[in-house]
């Protein structure tokens, strides 16, 4: 566990130092927090906490946040010629892999939790007319859960892609395409279904309820997370990485 934390420590340091400056790294974090924690809740007003269906949105946000960071994990080390030195250290395969995945998940999930907290403050300051505005409990549990699993998916899939990609740019492009497919295929797929099927699906969703849908989405994401993690472990071979 100590080795996993050590690798994650290094990943975090690099994430926070964009272009060799801590200030630059922190500035990009502030921008993200301002958009998702202030600007969007300001526009939505009280609906930000009253519409439980937006819970699914928080499963998608970390895909975007983590994707850009995790593309760098192995492809970046390869591109900057630091990978072989890391592989020549005493660190075990598992520690390197889990450290990078852990850092990416904590980055994406941590940001989402901050965004949720900040957005709650924003809507309470700007849109509260009566009692304190709070997320419904299904949302309060579902959003962090889906965000965690979404971050996990982005991190494991991202590491898997980054292990194979020769450059960071290529890894980022592949991940962006993956995220777009994951978001738009279900949306577009629903639209091409016959009206009767769409109505049936809607009725089914209503009968399951938001809470049930959250659990289903969580189970689906967890299965994807584990599959990608297993694939990343299978792909991680020192000899192959050295020769890549």
């Amino acid at each position: 566990m100590g080795d996993v934390l050590t690798v994650a420590w290094k990943e975090w340091r690099e994430l926070l130092q964009v272009g060799g400056s801590v200030r630059g790294g922190r500035f990009s974090l502030v921008i993200l927090l301002a958009v998702f924690g202030v600007f969007l809740p300001l526009q939505a007003g009280a609906e930000w906490v009253e519409s439980p269906a937006t819970v699914f949105y928080w499963g998608w946000v970390p895909l975007m946040l983590v994707g850009s960071a995790v593309a760098d994990s192995f492809a970046g080390e390869r591109e900057r010629h630091t990978l072989e030195t890391l592989l020549a250290s005493r660190l075990a395969d598992r520690a390197i892999l889990l450290g990078k995945i852990g850092a990416a998940i904590s980055y994406g999930w941590g940001l989402v939790l901050l965004m949720l907290a900040l957005s709650l403050v924003t809507v309470n300051v700007t849109a509260r007319t009566g009692p304190l505005l709070l997320f419904p409990w299904a949302f309060a549990i579902g959003a962090p859960l889906l965000a965690l699993l979404g971050a996990g998916l982005a991190a494991t899939a991202g590491v898997l892609v980054s292990l194979r990609a020769p450059t960071v740019r290529q890894a980022a492009q592949t991940l962006n395409v993956g995220v777009l497919l994951l978001v738009f295929v279900p949306v577009l797929g629903m639209q091409v279904l016959p009206d009767a099927w769409q109505a049936q699906a809607g009725a089914w969703a209503m009968s399951v309820g938001v809470q049930g849908l959250v659990w289903l989405a969580a189970a689906f994401l967890a299965a994807l997370d584990l599959s990608c993690l297993a694939a990343a472990f299978a792909r991680f071979r020192r000899a192959r990485l050295v020769l890549d």
Binding site: K10, Q17, G20, T82, E84, L86, A88, R90
Partner: protein, 310 residues
Amino acid sequence: MSAPVIIRTEGLTRAFGSVRAVDGLDLEVPAGTVFGFLGPNGAGKTTTIRLLLGLLEPTGGRATVLGCDTRAEAGRIREQSGALLEHHGLYERLSAEQNLEFYARVWRMSRAARAERIRALLQPLGLWERRGEPVGRWSRGMKQKLAVARALLHKPSLLFLDEPTASLDPVAAATLRDELSTLVQREGVTVFLTTHNLAEAERLCGRVAVIKQGRLLAVGHPDELKARSATRAEISGRGFTDATLALLRGRPGVVRADLQNGRIVLELAEPAETAPLVAAIVQHGGLVEEVRKDKGSLEDVFLTLMEEES
């Protein structure tokens, strides 16, 4: 009593398709030495280091490093070794101190030990005052020095250095060589150094091996290898002609005689005596101002070995 062997390879082979990057390498590296592994580009030096660190699996033969088999106990080898590989491997967005801090944590050093060791390594290298700067802003020489410090951080028993001065200008290379030599002596570590800089090898190494196309051509103390080469003599003066050269070439003990920049350069077989040759030149009308005689350098030996192998 001879020093224990720290690296032993027996018929070590690594092929990539039909190309054998390392071909039946038999090698013994005694503890406490700086072992030079010399060869031209593409000779298999880097592949050998990767095999010894267990980063690549051999396709034939075997190797033990620090008593561990490279196939079965690569983790234990890496635990006790330090490495400065082909690239310095520093995180350029991080500061020098953060780079060392990370690897000190990798080697599970305590907080107090980390702080003490980082200072002890950076101060003599003249990097302590700039430890907070991102490494990306540093010169190549400073980065190489930092990478050496990183490799020595956990006081390894064995240090692999893959052409540490290859990308440096002559001044930076000389500085790094001096500091490397001092550090290695102070730390008492065994060093496996690959290089194609023969002066560097001659200066630093107690034992050298020469390889080409993955095959071992020679191994021994630099002086032993130099002893294999012919004695060279350079005669400066005036009035040297093709006839003078023809005369010298006919003399016993003269292996080769050439005119280079107005000087006669001779390659002599043992016992190499120059006095009769000088007398012959003078009798033939030449004027001799200076005679310099020495054994060939390691570079001469290396070039001869390369020619023979070709």
